[in-house]
Amino acid sequence: PCLQVHSLQELRRSASLATKVFVQRDYSEGTMCQFQTKFPPELESRIERQLFEETVKTLNSFYAEAEKIGGSSYLEGCLACATAYFIFLCMETHYEKVLKKISKYIQEQNEKIYAPRGLLLTDPLERGMRVIEISIYEDRCSSGSSSSGSSSSSSGGGGLGGR
């Protein structure tokens, strides 16, 4: 099988979705958002175990930071309470800030590590924080696809719309 580097948009066009793997939540520490670090067998041939585990562990640490109950979260909570929670209309909460960081991290991981291997991580926020969805793509392998990929990437820079 020929391995090609796909950009995130090209991945969809030149490869077909083979299957999806779901990494479930780990509830052993309560209702805090943590994901299982168990390596799914379907990814055995696609990615190194250590890379995957590191991604999940980093995500877990991000979520732990978002949900941390400490000095700053108390401050934010008390301030919000004092203003009858009207402050939420203008201010972004700590959690939301961390979520933005997470989404950037996932995008970066996708670009650097997962897309080149024909995989795609979905932000758990889009799946109700229940699972990390990993889409596995099969390459439609031929030399033609790489040229069509690059030519369509230059013309269709605006995305996949209008197809």
Partner: protein, 495 residues
């Protein structure tokens, strides 16, 4: 692994989840197949909620009692400010209307926050996720031979040393996280579900519990405040003119004093009582749901201690009230991405057998009355039949019923791969069909600790008919009275 090109155009595009931006560039508009106005996600939200202000406001379906709450608070406070405050601010201090004003502002703010925000609704599983879960359940159950009934769909996890059972929700097709529960009135799974409060017209869950608590707390202060100062007003007047004269002048001089007092008197006891109850719940980090069911015992060292409690009251309170506020998971105002498959419409038929077990904790007597009404109505309508004409309000799509025929012959343990599904509607249709595969499971939707369904509801006939009926019911639109009555029956049966 060769590093390749193609990373250029990627850099200037926003990362969106492998799908088109819904508002595409103008040059592509003549070729667009979809309708001119892209739909927002709240318009196709599968639960029974009402949305206002283009998705910014979210409430339960029955909001009548909420308007009553609003009216009571506004009218009582308004009368207080209009008729008692002028006198009191002269006689005693102008701080009284000031403090009253602040309290009133706080009450209204927290009430609106509680009513309008997302309580922590869990979005339903995407078809792929649901299929994957089904597959895992099949693997876990193994192949079932005739006579052996597979165990009901639960998963056990150990949280802080305590074994907690996670139940599978048939409507949302997920394993509910711990402390989540499915609200049958709103037809949603809600995280850290406390109760459904008709007075605020919404569920109370993880995201709006602190608003709810601050609302009832501030409302208790407000009612006590108003009550106290109305009495003070009457007393002061009576000192001037004599008590009987004061009462006589009452309608003319300071009207509504008695009425305000009466409203306040009754509110005080109930609201203060409720605040006290919730203070207790917060300090022991329990939900109303758990407390009513008696899930955790209070004594330390016993078998079923509360695994979520932090051990001391102060931390529990701080965590509940000042902890971080998680964001809404349902993205009401987002646009529907055309490539991403959405769950087709409201599908709430399969909640019948056991997914609604946690609704025994209605916070109001109205719910009991409603349920009784539903039972009476349900008794008048025949429930389970195999023809599709059950749903009187709306006919199911004819295409769907024909699918059920061939699907009934699906062999056990054969999951349909998500990539082979032809189109959107078939997706949810086929995943709804998957329960058909496990013939025994058709009778096993209730977990053992729940009350068995009322006799006569489960047909002893073929499970295919049963599942077919359920599938047909799953196509019913949300407004069906029949659905409400079924829901009500299940609620009653599980109480």
């Amino acid at each position: 692994m060769t590093p390749g090109g193609g990373s250029g155009p990627m850099k200037d595009c926003e990362y969106s989840q492998i799908s088109t931006h819904s508002s595409s560039s103008p040059m592509e508009s003549p070729h667009k197949k979809k309708k001119s106005a892209p739909k927002r996600k709240w318009e196709v939200f599968p639960g029974r909620n009402k949305f206002f202000c283009n998705g910014r406001i979210m409430m339960a379906r029955q909001t009548g009692v909420f308007y009553l709450t609003l009216v009571l608070i506004l009218v009582t406070s308004g009368l207080f400010f209009a008729f008692d405050c002028p006198y009191l601010s002269e006689k005693i201090t102008p701080a009284i209307p000031a403090i009253g004003g602040i309290l009133f502002f706080f009450v209204m703010g927290t009430l609106l926050r509680t009513s309008f925000s997302d309580p922590g609704v869990l979005p339903r599983a995407t078809p792929d996720e649901a299929a994957d879960l089904e597959r895992q359940i099949d693997i876990a159950n193994g192949s079932s031979s005739g006579g052996y009934r597979p165990p009901p769909r639960t998963k056990e996890v150990i949280i802080n040393g305590q074994t907690v059972k996670l139940k599978y929700c048939f409507t949302c097709k997920i394993f509910r996280p711990p402390r989540a529960s499915h609200c049958s009135l709103c037809d949603n799974c809600v995280e850290r579900f406390d109760h459904h409060c008709p007075w605020v017209g919404n569920c109370v869950g993880k995201r709006n519990y602190r608003f709810f608590y601050m609302f009832i707390l501030s409302l208790s202060f407000l009612t006590v405040f108003i009550f106290a100062f109305v009495i003070t007003h009457v007393i002061l007047r009576s000192q001037q003119t004599g008590f009987l004269n004061a009462l006589k002048d009452s309608p003319a001089r300071y009207p509504f004093a008695e009425r305000i007092s009466v409203v306040c008197f009754f509110s005080v006891w109930s609201i203060v009582g409720l605040s006290g109850f919730h203070t207790y719940l917060i300090s022991s980090n329990q939900t109303t749901n758990e407390d009513i069911k008696g899930s955790w015992s209070n004594k330390r060292g016993k078998e079923n201690y509360n695994p979520y409690s932090y051990g001391n009251i102060f931390t529990n309170c701080c965590a509940a009230l000042c902890g971080p506020l998680s964001p809404s998971l349902i993205d009401r105002r987002g646009f529907i991405q055309p490539d991403t498959p959405q769950l087709a419409g409201p599908s709430n038929g399969i909640t019948m057998y056991g997914a609604t077990q946690s609704q025994s904790n209605m916070c109001d007597q109205d719910q009991c009355i409603q349920s009784t009404k539903f039972v009476l109505q349900a008794a008048a309508t025949p429930l389970l039949q195999s023809e599709p004409s059950i749903t009187s309000e709306e006919l199911p799509l004819p295409g769907k019923t024909t699918i059920s025929g061939p699907c009934a012959t699906l062999s056990l343990g054969q999951p349909t791969p998500p990539s082979s599904m032809p189109n959107l509607t078939s997706d949810s249709g086929l995943t709804d069909m998957i329960p058909l595969k496990e013939e025994h499971e058709g009778h096993q939707f209730l977990t053992p600790e729940e009350a068995p369904s009322p006799p006569g509801m489960l047909p002893s006939g073929s499970p295919i008919t049963h599942s077919h009926t359920m599938h047909v019911l799953s196509l019913a639109s949300q407004d069906s009275l029949h659905e409400d009555s079924v829901r009500g029956l299940v609620k009653l049966s599980s109480v």
